[in-house]
Every structure is written in structure tokens, then in C-alpha cells.
């Protein structure tokens, strides 16, 4: 066995970000905190874009002469439905960019992009491309002055790629050159982006167990209300119709989609492509840059494995597969760990009641030894209520985790056992801690809905509530167990809640 696992504190940037998210929990509770559902919110925006897009398509005239008029007619004469649909389409697209960027930034800042998450990160980069391309072509379709400028600039960029032999700009040189076919092609590209996006989403979540692809109902309704408010506050409208006899004047630009074009004022299209490709590649290889040392993957002890599949079901990254038994034991299946996908989070350890799977740098027995040692230490402390704390290392950064010894400065009545993820907490560990001389067990999980390794705190709640195996024994006094969801920056709240929990124990005695 190698060295025992040491935990490190969240970096400054991560703590700063968590400090921003924290107050939102105070406003809406962590259950509905939009920052915890940025990916799901982005997908919901996509659904809104798709539904409203289909409605707009029903009224869209796919022709050089009719495109502008059809959009304008829909916006003006049918403002109460078509106009609102158009605004929804527009603001949902902008919202998609905002939440997508926040989602990427959040994953980066919280270190959720390396190792086993590389596929989600790289496919996310591909999705960003498709979303931007779809949005840019969407603006062409309106064919107002803004659409003309965007078409002119994007054509200029496309022409700078040597594979495009025909200058696209020729289509906009004079009114006589503009054909209906061009609008068919643009519409096809715009529509096909939705198709590619849904394929990429499947790839994005392919290695994620029970991926959250729908936001909570409250958040979904909230999105619709927010879009509705924006749609009435500032409806999306067209500018003046595109006039090919004049240069495009200053037009309101959607900077979330078009931010790249102003660079054409200073650099050539080819140089800009070079920059975009380089930026994309750098973004895509980020998971492999400055790679942090990976923790050793979980190991299966085959003689103990019953093939019950619980570890496979709980593994958040599909790192455990089941295969036909190879050792002649009377069970049909055995668990196998795919090392490259293993996050070493210990969720599988929490799911296994048979000591069949372990983290090499934090074996179940070593955790239980720590529990025994700390329980014994607490017993020697004499009078007063004693509390054993199980803390997620990604949750509040407290003394017991810092030094790895389990002590909590100034709180002699408590001892801390740190786990990489609170989902590693086995029911048997709880039973062991709730020794007759220990008055209560306080569980400090990371924020609800924001498990660093995904779902660990959900699985634990399920085990405590008795509906997710392995369940916590019914005979355990639930009033002696406290559970709090706290982020890495809520150390003070941890102390407050722990003290209140202990006070509660005292009151009951």
C-alpha cells in the first residue's frame, strides 16, 4: 500500500467563485441554485430554441425577396405570438451562450475538466463551435441591415479558407446576384446545427451516469418567465431591410455571437481563422495541460465481490462495468474498474457492503481504523456530548481535514474523519461511529446539487432515507445523525451548525 491520501484545499479562484455562488443558495436554496444546473439550463434553452424555431419556420419565406418581409410580418402583425416566439428564440440563444460560457468557466475554475472528464470538455468545445455557427447563420436569415453585415463579414471569413473556391460575397455584390437557393442553404445550415448539437450533447454526457439534462421544474419555469419578461421588455425586432446598393452602416450587433467579426478590422480573414483554430485547440487541450497527479483508481477484491452491481450503479463516470464471472464463484457477474475513467472518489466503496472494492490510497479498513481511533480518543475526553464528524474533503475546509489527524481546534468534543466524497460514507461506518459513548454523528457534505464528483451527497441522502442500498440500519437513531450541505467556503457555517447540532443533542438528553 502506498501513502495515505492527503486532501488539498480549494484554490483561491475556486473559493472566490464559490463565494459568489453561496449567496444565491441563501436566496433560492441550493436545490434551485441555477449555478448548479448550468449544463441542464443550456440544454433547456436549446429545447426552447428548437420549439420556437419550428414555429418561426412555419412563417418563414425562404427567398431573397420574402425573407425579410416574412420575419417582419410575423414580428409586427403577430406580435402577441410570433413576435414573442421570435424574442424567445433570440434571448434563449443569447442565454445559451451565457450559460454555456458560465458552465465552461465553472468547470474550469472548480477543476472539473481533467482526467476522466476530458471527453465532456472536448465535446463542449465542439458544441461551442456549432452553437456560434448556428447563431451566426440565424442572423443571416432575417436579412435586414444587420443580417447583411453579418453575411458580408462571415462570407469574407469563409472565402479566406482555400477550400472554398467560389467567393460567397459575389452573392451580395448586387441585388441581381442574390438567389433563393442561398437562403435554402442558410436555412439548412441553421437547422442542421440543432441536429449536430443533440449528437454532441449525447457525446458530452456519454460517460456520465444519470446526467442532469433537465433543470428542476422551478428553474425551468423560471427560465420561461425570465424570457417572457425580456420578450415584452425589449422585443427582438428587425432593422431596416438589407440594401445591397449601400455599405452597411452602424447596426446593433449581438456581441455574444458576433464578437469575432470586429477583429477583421485589424487582421485578415486567414489570420483570424488561425487565431480561432489556435484558441480552440488550446481550449481543447486544457485537460492535458499542467496535468495534476492522478489518484490511484479503485481496485476490486474479486473474492469479496458478489456481482450485486451497486458499485456500477453508483459510479458517476461509468468507470465500473460488470462482466461474466472469471473465478468460478457462484455469482453470475463481477465488477471491473476501467482505470482511465475512475475518479478515485470512493463512491463505489460507499456502495459496497462486502469490502469488495477499495481505494488503494484510502482503503475502507484504514478509514475504519481512523474511526476506531478517534472514537477511542473521544471516549477518553470525559464528560460532555461527543460528536463524530464525517466531512467531505470538497466541503468546508476544517482542521481535521487540514492535518489529517481528525482534531478540531477549540472543539475537543468533536473528531473529524475526512472522505474524498461524502458518498464514500458506508452505513457500516456510521454504525461504527455511533458507538454507545458517542452522542451524535454530524455529516458535512458539499453543497446540495454541487457534489464535486457528482451525486455523492444524493446517494448518501438516499441511503440515510432508506431507499438507496446499502441502506442505513433502521435501528440507528436518526435523531443522532445530522446532515448539512456546505460548500468549501462555508467553514464558519460548519462550526455554527456543528455547535447547534451538539446543543440539540444536549437538549434531548
Amino acid at each position: 500500500m502506498g501513502e495515505k491520501r492527503e486532501f488539498s484545499r480549494a484554490g483561491f479562484a475556486e473559493r472566490a467563485w464559490l463565494a459568489i455562488e453561496g449567496p444565491v443558495n441563501g436566496i433560492v436554496s441550493s436545490e434551485y441554485n441555477p449555478f448548479y444546473y448550468l449544463g441542464a439550463i443550456s440544454i433547456f434553452f436549446l429545447w426552447i430554441i428548437l420549439v420556437t424555431g419550428v414555429y418561426l419556420f412555419l412563417f418563414y419565406d425562404i427567398s431573397a425577396r420574402g425573407a425579410y418581409l416574412s420575419v417582419q410580418s410575423l414580428t409586427v402583425t403577430q406580435w402577441y405570438l410570433g413576435g414573442v416566439m421570435r424574442s424567445f428564440h433570440r434571448y434563449a440563444s443569447d442565454g445559451l451562450i451565457i450559460t454555456m460560457l458560465l458552465h465552461a468557466f465553472r468547470c474550469f475554475i472548480t477543476g472539473r475538466y481533467r482526467h476522466w472528464r476530458w471527453l465532456a470538455w472536448v465535446s463542449g468545445a465542439a458544441m461551442a463551435w456549432v452553437i456560434w455557427i448556428g447563431g451566426i447563420f440565424g442572423y443571416w436569415m432575417v436579412w435586414d441591415e444587420r443580417g447583411k453585415l453579418i453575411a458580408t463579414l462571415s462570407a469574407r471569413m469563409l472565402e479566406s479558407i482555400p477550400i472554398f473556391g467560389l467567393p460567397l460575397s459575389l452573392n451580395f455584390a448586387r441585388a441581381g446576384n442574390l438567389t433563393d437557393q442561398l437562403f435554402y442553404i442558410v436555412l439548412f445550415i441553421h437547422f442542421s446545427t440543432a441536429f449536430f448539437l443533440f449528437i454532441l450533447i449525447m457525446l458530452h454526457i456519454t460517460r456520465i451516469t444519470k446526467a442532469v439534462i433537465n433543470p428542476p421544474r422551478v428553474v425551468a419555469y423560471g427560465m420561461i418567465l425570465a424570457l417572457l419578461a425580456l420578450s415584452f421588455m425589449k422585443p427582438a425586432i428587425s432593422g431596416s431591410p438589407a440594401d445591397l446598393k449601400r455599405l452597411s452602416e452602424a447596426v446593433p450587433f449581438d456581441w455574444l455571437f458576433m464578437f469575432i467579426f470586429p477583429f477583421l478590422n485589424w487582421v485578415s480573414g486567414r489570420a483570424l481563422w488561425g487565431f480561432i483554430v489556435a484558441a480552440t485547440l488550446i481550449f481543447a487541450v486544457v485537460p492535458w495541460l499542467g496535468r495534476a497527479r492522478r489518484k490511484p483508481p479503485a481496485k476490486v477484491t474479486l473474492e469479496n465481490c458478489t456481482g450485486c452491481e451497486l458499485c456500477m450503479e453508483d459510479c458517476p463516470y461509468q468507470a465500473i462495468t460488470m462482466r461474466k464471472r472469471t473465478d468460478g464463484m457462484p455469482y453470475p457477474l463481477e465488477a471491473v474498474v476501467v482505470d482511465k475513467r475512475c475518479a478515485s472518489c470512493g463512491l463505489c466503496v460507499g456502495a459496497c457492503d462486502y469490502k469488495a472494492i477499495n481505494l488503494p490510497d484510502l482503503p475502507e479498513e484504514s478509514v475504519k481504523d481512523d474511526i476506531r481511533r478517534l472514537v477511542a480518543e473521544l471516549k477518553d475526553k470525559g464528560e460532555g456530548r461527543k460528536v463524530m464528524v464525517f466531512a467531505c474533503a470538497k466541503g468546508p475546509w476544517i482542521d481535521g481535514i487540514k492535518d489529517g489527524k481528525g482534531g478540531l481546534n477549540g472543539y475537543d468534543w468533536a473528531r473529524v474523519v475526512a472522505l474524498p466524497c461524502i458518498g464514500m460514507l458506508q452505513p457500516s461506518m456510521l454504525s461504527m461511529a455511533l458507538d454507545k459513548d458517542i452522542d451524535g454523528v454530524f455529516i458535512a457534505s458539499c453543497a446540495h446539487g454541487d457534489c464535486h464528483f457528482r451525486r455523492g451527497n444524493d446517494w448518501l441522502s438516499g441511503r440515510l432515507a432508506g431507499f438507496r442500498p446499502p441502506v442505513v440500519k433502521k435501528s440507528l437513531d436518526r435523531s443522532r445523525i445530522g446532515l448539512q450541505y456546505l460548500s468549501a467556503v462555508e467553514g464558519d457555517a460548519f462550526i455554527k451548525e456543528l455547535t447547534a447540532f451538539r446543543e440539540g443533542l444536549k437538549a434531548r438528553s
Partner: protein, 217 residues
Amino acid sequence: MWVAGVLLAFILPVIYIAIKEWRSRKASEKDGGPPRKKEPLNWSALARVSVILFVLILPSVWLSDISYSFYRKEDAALKVAFKLSGSRVADCEEADLIKKEGERYRRELKDTRQVKMSMSKLGRCPRERNPVTVELYMDGKKLLDKSYAPTGLKKDMASYVFEEFLIEPGTHRVEAKLYRSGAGKPADFSLDGTVGSKPGEIRVVRFDEKEGALLIE
């Protein structure tokens, strides 16, 4: 009409959701047992989440209001834009070849009844075209001297010409020469005229196939 639209679009869905939520709440109250999977909607959370999401998307309103202009207000533009096929690099009567091959085919079919059309013979007729070269002068100053290669894998299709020049508004003398017959040959078409342009205006030098001439539009 629009009242009906508003009703259809918003009020009916809102009524539907409200009734559904009310029924779901009633059902959960009646059960009183274990927690239902679908809990009643938390209206106060909904209001707060809506505000947060509104604030989150709000920058898009501001970010789509900032104007941008690629061109300066005082700019005018002269574009050279047209499609034209250069002449064939080598003279080859494709129709004559097809005719001859057709005759051979018929003759041999009659004699042997085992004949094949030789497509390779037809393919020997070179189809490659010359590039189209454009020279453009404005007020005696050369703006453009560029050859545009024919498109197509066999370089047998038209050349596409597109260039854009930002010019000072006013009256300018424009001369253009168009070569489509290969290097060293005299210009096939030429243009010499004056063009007046106002700020923001676009003038186009193009080739009109019907008239067979370069024109300013």
C-alpha cells in the same frame, strides 16, 4: 384576433399549469404518506429563481444594443463582381469528336455487334480554360491586376471574380481591362468611364453576358 392569440399563447398554458399544480398539491395532501416524486411547485422559489435568471440573461439585452460598423461613414465602395468563363486553353471541337465517335460506334456495331463506346477518346478533348485576368485603374492608379483561376476539378468551369475597394466619395475615372484568352493576348473587353459615388454607396463593375461588355452599375 390578437386577444385570441394571447389567450392561446400564454393564458391557457398558465391556467393549465396552475390547475395541474393545484391538483398535484391536493393529491399530495390527501396521500399524507411518503414523499411523492413530483412535489408541488414552490411558488416563492419560482419567483426568486425567475429574478436570478432574468438578471443572468439581462446582459444579452445590453450586449445586443451596442452598435458596430465595419465601414466608416464616409466610405464608398467599388466592387468588381462577376462570373465569366475563360476561353479554352486548346481548341477542341468536342461536338465533332462526339460525332466521329458516334459514327465509328454505329459502323462497328453493324459489322461486329461487339462494340464499345470509347469514352477515353472523348476525354482526350482538353476542356481546361484560361484564367480570367482583370486590370482595374481608378484615376490612373492601378487598383487591381489579378488572375482568377477557372473552377472545377478539370479547371473547365467559370472564373469567379469578386473584389471590394473602399474609395473616397466623388467622381472618379475608372478603366478596366478583361483578359479571358490567356497570357500575351490583348484584352478581350475594356471599360473606360466615370463613376460618381456618395458616402455609403456601392458601385459595381460587372460583366454583362447578354451585352458582352463590362459595365458599371
